[in-house]
Amino acid sequence: MDDLVVLRVGTKILIPFILLFALYVQFHGDYGPGGGFQAGVIFAAAYVLYALVFGIGNALRVMPAKVVYACGAVGVMIFVGTGFVTMGLGGVFLDYNVLAHEPSHGQHYGIIAVELGVLVTVFGVMVAIFYAFAGRRRLDP
């Protein structure tokens, strides 16, 4: 899309804002609407925007398909791993109270870890599905 300067420049300016806003949604989820799922989708939207404007070849150079697939799995592992950590610290599965001396601090850490897992999974899944759809040229004319 070499002749579409408007799109390229505008996208370049906007993508950092979208990523920053996704982080805001992620960490502001305790206080307002938002959370891991929404933040993951917004992250994926920014990445899909990049892939649309600069071509999926460049997008694959930034983040190969293997990495994206791995993201989908790693997020679930973060989530489940949080549960096992709480078990190791003497609580029950996903009981965040034991993560810190103060139970409410433990809840904070646990929720942040879990939401991070959700974010990573959702980002990976959305981008993987986009790759699967967009990378597949129609075979019959």
Binding site: M1, T11, I18, F21, H28, P33, L49, F133
Partner: protein
Amino acid sequence: MFVAATIGILASMAIVLVRALLGPTVYDRVMAVNIFGTKTVLLIAVLGFLTDRPEFLDLALVYALINFIGTIAVLKFFAFGDLGLTRRVERGPE
């Protein structure tokens, strides 16, 4: 005042929806979706003021930031026949 704004935005939403229903070409519909996005941003903001809880503007921010991705996908779809490519590729010998 915000009542008037709400009614005005809803009315113009309805008009745009008529354009989307009539839309002779698909581009009319895409444009209708675009305007609808802007109007939804405004409606959400106005509704926040109307119900005296204007803290929900994060939602308007989401729409303001990422609602144009769909339009760019439309452009890619029509200009290149595919979402992944950056130049038009003729079909292979088949």
